[in-house]
Each structure stands twice: as C-alpha cells, then as structure tokens.
Assembly symmetry: D2
Homo-oligomer: 281 residues x 4
C-alpha cells in the first residue's frame, strides 16, 4: 500500500487532532505513525502523521482538499508522497562525509537520492564518479562568488533538487543564497556548537583540553553557524589527541550527525520551530 | 488547569485516533501532549495522550464513559489523574540508588512519592530516616521467605503502593510474588543485560576486558533478569578498572537508568508490549 | 604496604624516565602504576608514578633527596603520601552536587575527605549537617564580598584545605581569590563549555534546539568559564525538554563530571598543562 | 626521525622500567610516548614505549640486543619499526565495514595498509576493485571449507599479511584456523557482547526492547564470540526501531568499533592479557 506523510504546524487550539484524523479517515487513509508535540510555552502544535492508502496517492488533490481544514485553524502544512527527495551534495576537499552519504544512499538507508555532487575543488571527482554520480566543478573566488552561487541555484533548479547538503563545503554562502535555500539546506559544522565557532575549531578545542569532540548538523541561515540544530554527536577524547587526531575523531561524529539529519529531513521528521527544531524520530 | 493522562493499547484499525480525540473534545479536554506508536509488525497501536481540563478531573467517570468507545475497538486503557504514584523502595546494603531516588524525590523530579523503604538488612535505616521515611526491616531467609513476601504484599496494600522499586534488593523474588507485582515492580540489574547475568557480573565483565559497563532497568517477571527493558545506560571504562572500580562506575549507570525508569513509569510513559516496552518520552 | 605518588612536568630530554626510575629503585620504591605523556608539539613531558614502599613513606625526605635529580632536568614535581586531600565544598541553593559528593565521600569513592561546607545561603545546612559536616554560612553581597572572600580564605587555612570544590556556587569569585586558589579550586559549569557561557545556559540551549546537554568541570581561573577543562559529560535530550527539564537532565551530567574531576584531582591524576590538562586515569 | 615501538609483558618485579629505559637511553632512542599498566591482581606488567631514533631503525639488532635484558626478567617482548602492518580484509555481502575501512585506509588514518579483500561471495568485488584492491573470491561450503581455509592461509602467507580483519565475514572459522591466526585476526560482532550471541541478534534485541544497540570488536578464538574484547560501541535506539532499523543503526556502531580496533592493533596499542586486553590509547 502506498504511504504518505502529513506535516503541520499551527497555534494550539482544541479540535486540531480531531479535525486531522477525521479528514484522513474520510479519505480512506490509515494512520501508521503519528507524532505530535505541543509546545505549551509558545502555544504551538507540531504534528507529523504517516498514513497508508489503498490507492495511488494524489498529493495535489489531498493538499487542495485539506486546505479548508487548514484555513480554519491557521495551519501551515504539507503532504508528502513516496518519491524520495533529491539531494545535491556540496563538498570541498574532505571526503569522509561524501563517502559516508554515498554508502548509505546505495544501501538504501539515506532517505533521499543523491542527484549530483558539486564542489569548488576537483579533488573528489573520482569518488563521485566511481559511484556513478555527476560531479560539477564550480570554482569560487572572491571575484566569481556571485557567479558561482548563481550556477549553484541553476543546478538546484535544473536537477529538481529538494535538499542541498553541505558535506564539509568550506566556503561561506552569501546571505542571499542562505535565504533562498532556507529550510532546504543542511550544513555539518565540524565542532560541537555553539562552542568553537570559526576557524580551526580543533586547535581551539585542544588548547582548552576538551574531553569530548562533537559535530552539529543544522539548517543553513544567514547567521553563520547559528541555524536551527537538527542533530549533534560527541565522541570522547583525551590529552593525547593533538588537533589532527581530534579532527580525525571529529570526522566520525560529523558523518553520524550529518547522515542522521539528512535522513530525518528526507523522511519529513524535522519541523522548524523558529531558531529550533522538532524532531519526530 | 488540572491535567490527566490516557494510555491505551489495541489492535490497529482505522478510526481509533479519531474516536479518542472526539471523546476528549466532547469532554472539554485539551490535548497537550500526544504520542502514538503503531507496531505494523504486530499490528498493535500504543497511545498516550496528556490533556488539560477546565474542571477537576473525575477519573472514574471518564473511565466509565470511555468504556463504550473502548469496547468497540477492543482497547485496553486507563485514565490517570494528577496524584503522584506512591512508591515502596526495596534495598539491601548498597545505598547509591536509594540515595539518588531520595534526592530526586525531594527535588520534585522523581515523578512519584516515596512512601516507605523496606529492606532485608538494617544498614540503610539511617539514610531512610534522615529523609523522614519509614523504614521497615523485613529479614528474609530460606525459612522465612514466604512470610517475608507476605509481609511485603501487606505493606504494599496498607500503604496503597502503586510501584515497587527494587533499588539493588539482593534477594530473588518468588515466582508468585513476581506475578502478583507484574507491571508494577521495577528492578535495576547491575549490568548491561542480557550480558553477564547471574552473580558477580563485574568480575565476568573484567575477565572479558569489556570497554563499556552498563545497567538495565526492567519490569520484574518470574524469568529472572528477562523482564521487559525500560532503560539502559552505559559508561566507558578501560583495562585499569578492576572489578571493584567497574562496580563503582556501574553504580552511576544504575542510578541514571533506574531513576529514569521510575520517572517514566510514574508519568505513564511506559506501555508494556509483550516482552518489550514502548516508551513515550 | 604504604603507597605514594610522584607527579612531575619538565621539558623533554633524554634520560628523564631513567633518572626517575633509578631514584625510585634506589629508595626501595616499587612502581605500581606509571603514566607518562610526551607532548611533542610543546616538547613537554608529564609523568605520574604510583609506588609502594616497604616502610612508612617520608614525603619531605623524598622531596629533599629528589631535588638534585629534579634540578638537573628543570623538573616541577611533587611527592604525595597516603593522606586523603581535604575538601571544602561551596554551594548556594542547588543541592544535587553536594548530595552526590557526600554520598561518594561516605562510600569511600570520592578520593578526598569533605571537611566542611560553606554557602552564601542557609538552604543546604540540613543536608550538610545530616552528614555530620560543619556548615558555615558566609553571606556575600556587593558590599560584603571582600569580607566574605577573606572569610573563605581563612576557612581554607584554618581547616587545612587542599581543594575547594564549587558545587554550583552561584557567585563569581574575584580575580584575586581565583589567583590565590589557582590549581586548587574546581568549578562545575552547568553547560557544555565553551558553548552557552553566562546566564541561563539552558534557556540558550533550548532556543537553539540542542540535542545534547552537558556539563564541564574545570579549574577556576580569573577568566570566567575559561579555566583548564578536567572532565565533560553529555546526555541526549530532545525538543520536549523545556529549559527546566533540560536543567534537570543537565544536573545528572554535572554530578558525574564534577565527582570524576574531584576524584582524579585527589588521586593526583590531573596535571596542569597551560590552559589545558593531562589526565592520567 | 624514524620511530619505533617496544611492547612487553612480564611478571611484576622491581627494576623493569629502569632496565628498559636504560637500554633505550644507551641505544640513543628517545622515549616519545610511554604507557605502562601494572595489574596488581595478576601481578603482571604491560608496557608500550614509542621512541624516536637518530638513524634508521634496525629492529632485528634491537631485538637481539634486548634479549639479554628480557631474559633476566622473563619478558615477552617485540620491537616494531615504521612499516605499516598489512591487512587482509574478509567480507561476505554486507559492505559497510569494508567501505569504512577503505575510506580510512586512503585517508591515512587506518593504521595499516589493506593488501587484499577475500570473500565467500562475489558481491563486493566492485567496491574492492574501485579502490584498486585485489579481490579474491573463495567460495566456502560444508564440502569445501577445509580447502577454502587452506586457500586463505596461503593468501596470508603469499601476501605477507600481519592482520586478518573479519569485516562482517558470515562464516564460522574452524578451530584450527582460529588457532593458527591467534592474536592476528580481529572480528566485529554485530551486537553488544556477551548479550545476543548467535543468529539474528537484532531480532533478539528487538524482542527484549533494548534501548541501546552495540557492536564488539574482539580477537578471534576457537570459542565463538568469546575472544578478548578490544573495543565496543553503543548507540541509543527506541521502540520504533524494528530489527531492520536496529541493524542499520548497529552498522554505525560496527564501523566505529572495528576501525578503532584495527588502528590500535596496527599501532601496537593492544596487548593481550589472557581472555582480556590492555589498550594503550
């Protein structure tokens, strides 16, 4: 039986869940997984319902018919069918996250389909092409940055991309690009945010004698390294870990946090909540 | 506003959630937290809904009126009001879990109220009494075991106990006692189950050179150490940890796992699922 | 057999370990645990040797006789006998760390002996006194801060204190006090440093949607929250954790990190390394 | 400057460290990393010393000259030069560990060099060959098992293999093969040992409602799944993880535990200690 997902957010009010479940029941859709979070502090409801249908899912029709329910409650909502989201992965020279994402994609556990790899350096072309993925080299300098970002947005449009994954892409995106990709670009930050922002985080961590290194996957926003956090992971280290070894250990945390964030996003398990996120695992 | 919780289990069928939410809406109860898990493999639905009411909650009336809904779907259900569950804590000589439970109870984060402490040894009387708790010494030998267990059940009845917490109680309960406490007795096992069952788990762990020690909180069942798992915790160790030091580290894992299991049970977040559990955190 | 510990730091040079082990051998001291870390980047050697003696240990004589070895290599060193370090614990209103430290002290796993509890609030007097500990109330306002700090230093001197433990003491120490306690005062910071410094860290963490909360035990330095890190711990959380619940979970991390830091310090397992630490577990 | 490592085990006696450090000093070798563990319970000393030399290291000569020191103390010892150990990786159909090992090998963080991949199935040939590695398909049935194991030992000899890595090789090795590879074959067990031995561990784990899944890297011994543990890792799961999803999460733990075990072995950081291990990280 085909499956779909409904996600929605609205201000708390009595009757919301009843309205949603009635709608699904009337349309012959069986709930198979239901998550709901009521943030009483901010009086906001977050809901994700996965359902099974007897026939082919017609997402546009569902969305049109649900609109009248949604209007009554002031809901922001979306229906999602079974097609896997299409991913554009951006890299620079570090390949550990790309390698990890490719393996999970092929094993069928990534949640989405990688459509192409884009990089400002040519180094990882062999890794992408060995996996049968198109690799587009888009160099970016101070002089060509605007052009390079335009090219990226063109690739996003042409390849019908749902999610841009910054898998250790070592260039800062312009505010404009961040805004145009809002909610559909995930970055992996190579340290445990909000600590050790900026350059050389593992050198900073070493200088303080940290005992745990981590990584943070977050949505991209114009405020560098300040986007809503989706997932974090840490691994224990000790004084014997010089910055290079800290970085090697940190890469394991980066792979774990990024791949989970991508999968949850692709399965529509991440709902934005201002500067925060609600994750329905 | 007073709050309550509804928990239920039943076979999956269309319309369940709709029926529940309609009932709550009609009774003027606002959903403030809703969790639902559909085990598609075993075709069973688990549901927990916390709600707020405008008036005093009348649990018996709610249960009586909900019975007609429940009958139609073959639900097993319960409504819970705001009174905190009453706990009887059983100990022997190790005091770390009792000390931890007492602190959390006083800080208001345990979820339940400790009513009394029962022990087969007198050692922890001062700890219990310093906290203002009655301490009942019920010695138990091979000859007096049946009598001691009868005394325990009497204390459970007299003190109106909702949950028995075996906080490193070092005696095996009889099958009969296990059955009569089914679903309302939690044990902390001093190792990471199912590994290292039986005596001296830390010596067994040491002999194998384990790199992580753990603890497992589970419901008590006649099958020793085989009850449904509620929570587990692990802490990293190394070869320098002789059995005694492993045990000391393991005690930290025991306190964390047991207190979480108790809190989740008291908040009606744990639903039994055969030999397993569903936890709605 | 009595046991002792030698700790030392010096610039790397050939022959250091040979000189140390020869000295111990000549004095009839058997090495029972030896740790050594050579920071090749900063060309510094850190060494901790625990040894067993046939007779009573005479620490002052050992230190005097070792001085000639130490001079040749420019070592900073100390011999430690079997007496447990004496601790002064400072608290305000939160009792979870004090409760945890008291339990470990009585169980014999804290590493040191708590001599007294000092607080700027009277709230925790019952907890201290129930454990048989003197409790000294030293109120501190803007006007009386200098006086209060003088009183604290007096208590440190009178009670022959080796280590001051700030167990959620909610007052900022003056730079002068920090300097006079350098290397012998440990603070627990109620978040995962260097993230979320300053006030209300759990509110900051909630606003960003963090998925792990942590705690950091560090030596006190005039740079607030910037002292050398001794231990860190994290616990997984989710979007359902409002700031209050984050704080409750964070308290578990605080107890674990602080008690480990105190034990390692008391066992002479922590060597300062500029703004960092070397931990010989 | 070239570097080497000395590892040794012997019964505890005064003067061991002094003898070792004197030997190194006399041979112009500077200690750059020194670990030592004295198991007072079993009265055994474990020691690992990494050193730097001014000239090319002559391992055979060092071993010959050290023999007289070793004889006096009854030491078991080995000197190791700078050549990276050569690895033979055995797989069946699951590729996650192979993919992970290949990536780390190419990134230079695996500790050893992969020489070839051997499998009882042809499925992973493309992955191996894409990395430029020879892939040898050695089918093994009940009838051909002896022959297949002989072929494996031949490959070990011909390719001068130092370590065999069973990266989810799904065939049980014969006792004879286990014995002939003792101390130089590492297996990854797809669960947290000693729990859930045997077939379908993730189904067993699911049935008990485990809250953490793990993996265990251990040396191969004739006692199936009972070899000395080198490393373990766990990852938190919940009731929503059906066996397939448990397995997917477990694979992350497997990659982490296996790659660490391989690196530590290759860096001569793992010393066997009966059924246990000493790890000098």
């Amino acid at each position: 039986r085909p499956r779909g997902v409904l996600t929605l957010t609205c201000r708390e009010r009595p009757g919301i869940v009843q309205a949603v479940t009635s709608f699904l029941l009337e349309h012959g859709l069986d709930i198979v997984e239901h998550h709901q979070f009521d943030d009483s502090e901010r009086e906001t409801l977050f809901l994700r319902t996965a359902f099974a249908a007897d026939d082919v899912l017609d997402v546009p029709t569902l969305e049109r018919e649900f609109a009248s329910v949604a209007d009554g409650f002031g809901m922001t909502f979306a229906f999602h069918g079974e097609e896997k989201p299409r991913l554009l992965v951006m890299v620079s020279k570090f390949g550990h996250c790309l390698n990890d994402l490719i393996f999970r994609w092929r094993a069928g556990t990534l949640g989405g389909d990688i459509a192409l790899v884009v990089s400002n350096h040519p180094d990882l072309r062999p890794m992408a092409e060995a996996a049968g993925l198109p690799f587009v080299h888009v160099p970016s300098t101070a002089a060509t940055k605007a052009e390079a970002e335009a090219r990226l947005l063109e690739l996003v449009a042409v390849h019908d991309i749902d999610l841009v994954v910054l898998a250790r892409y070592m260039q800062i995106l312009s505010d404009d690009l961040c805004r145009s990709l809002e909610g559909r670009a995930i970055n992996i930050h190579h340290s445990f945010l909000p600590g050790f922002k900026g350059a050389k985080p593992y050198h900073q961590a070493y200088a303080r004698g940290v005992k745990l290194v981590g990584a943070t996957a977050h949505y991209v926003t114009p405020d560098l390294d300040e986007g809503p956090i989706i997932e974090q992971e840490v691994i224990r280290v000790d004084h014997g870990h010089h910055p290079n070894r800290l970085a090697t250990v940190g890469q394991d945390a980066e792979c774990l946090a990024l791949s989970r964030a991508v999968r949850w996003h692709c399965e529509h398990r991440v709902l934005l909540h201002g500067s925060s996120t609600v994750i329905f695992r």
